[in-house]
Point group: C2
Chain length 303, copies 2
Amino acid sequence: MNNLIECVPNFSEGKDPATVQAIIDEIRAVQGITVLNTHIDPDHNRSVITFLGNRQSVSEAAFRAVTTATKLIDLRAHTGLHPRIGATDVLPFVPLAGTTMEECISVAHEVGERIASELKIPVYFYERASKRADRTNLEDIRRGGFEVLSKEIEKVPEREPDLGPRKIHSTAGAIVVGARPILIAFNVNLRTTDVGIAKKIARTVRGRNGGLKFLKAIGLDLSEKGYVQVSMNLVNYEMTKLHQAFDAVKREAEHLGVSVMSSEIIGLIPRRAVEMCAEHYMLIENFSSDAVIENRLGKRESS
Amino acid sequence: MNNLIECVPNFSEGKDPATVQAIIDEIRAVQGITVLNTHIDPDHNRSVITFLGNRQSVSEAAFRAVTTATKLIDLRAHTGLHPRIGATDVLPFVPLAGTTMEECISVAHEVGERIASELKIPVYFYERASKRADRTNLEDIRRGGFEVLSKEIEKVPEREPDLGPRKIHSTAGAIVVGARPILIAFNVNLRTTDVGIAKKIARTVRGRNGGLKFLKAIGLDLSEKGYVQVSMNLVNYEMTKLHQAFDAVKREAEHLGVSVMSSEIIGLIPRRAVEMCAEHYMLIENFSSDAVIENRLGKRESS
């Protein structure tokens, strides 16, 4: 269980399962890789694959995944709600047990080099792997999407890629490669069909507007299903905790006279985030991960 | 991680760490055994050792532990608050991942046979391993402790042991061997020095008085530390859940005008109990253990 890196590439294909499966097969073919999760979103026409392994395996599998996506996805024919600039749009590396952020930054740079030189795709580095202060935020790099970047990349100085040709790849676009802490995607559903309430709560709780620092939030209209949603990303769950995000949304909803219907975890969640909830809500003063039987069993096996 | 059995013997020695260590060393000497936890309680003059392994290892380690305790502990010289009838007082086997209750019952009977025939100690089977309806409850078997049982064992029909001599072992007393589901020991501390409040709440929330079915609870006076405690055992945490017990105590405390200060887990807790708290308090509708990254890693390793 030591020295594991998680990789969570986002691909601009969410309608053709065969294409996504071909990419998964390519990732799985690398020895030592485990594919943990696949999320295919037809509305966004986008897919997210979560896999992990040691440094060498993840580096190789990530490159092969990008190579396959480059062959199979033509961004000129792509439509979808989600902003994107590439066939493989984002390629983040995430440190798990026994791995440091520095190792993930180094893998991001190494895979980025191969993508630029072997696949001739312009590469931007983001988050912890960024090489320029204005490229920390994904949103800034992806501004205007494929269509705008195609024009600006050759002329606008701020849009010059960190590596690779200063020209958009005709079918695969460009790619954003980086390293970041693990992220929790968490939605809270509210018993109302007024999306204005979800948007108002999102603005109040998120860091961008002065709320919880490491929380991103938007309000989404799911009124045809009878409710609205505060859709959140916790980008540093050890600082801004999952239960803090939940409590903040619940409190704001109550102020607005609306009740929380349910919540949902999208994808994966670290064990500590779950344990911190139990500690918080039940005021457990001596909680330790070592008190959880199964955690002990894991340690036993690896010793 | 398959076919693991947990064993949680209780020994009537909590003041002499050397004796407890000798027993631990004997358990550890069996291949495939992991000692998870040791709790030495000088007030009760009693110790609890938690260990696990596969069926063969646990069976052997349990017998060796009882053999060592029989050599080192003389119950005639023992004083302490806790009711007890033996040097090794209780010997429960608990099914973990991949093991059934039936296997634990079978191990309990097998180890009980060896204790009766090789160590000449009277054996009573309890909980799921009991052979008589009136021996399900530990409290019933242990009534009056070593002193009363010493006299009644030879004369009173209901006190005849299930196996072994119908005569108390002069130094080791008798032993209660059994199989039971995993147990969570959980205390809630209240901001008051009135132990009457803790006792009242314990009576309201516990199964014996019509409260939560699989919850045992007593009120304890810790007023010299500035608070009182509702001390609980959850004997079937999948039916009566940890957060249900906490919420019940909190609600009763509020009715009585007292607030909850903190809570504590004693010993070990199953992962699912922690996860159910997160589900409950944050209304997570789609929670799955498979969404927890580390749980996936465990499965990956064992495949």
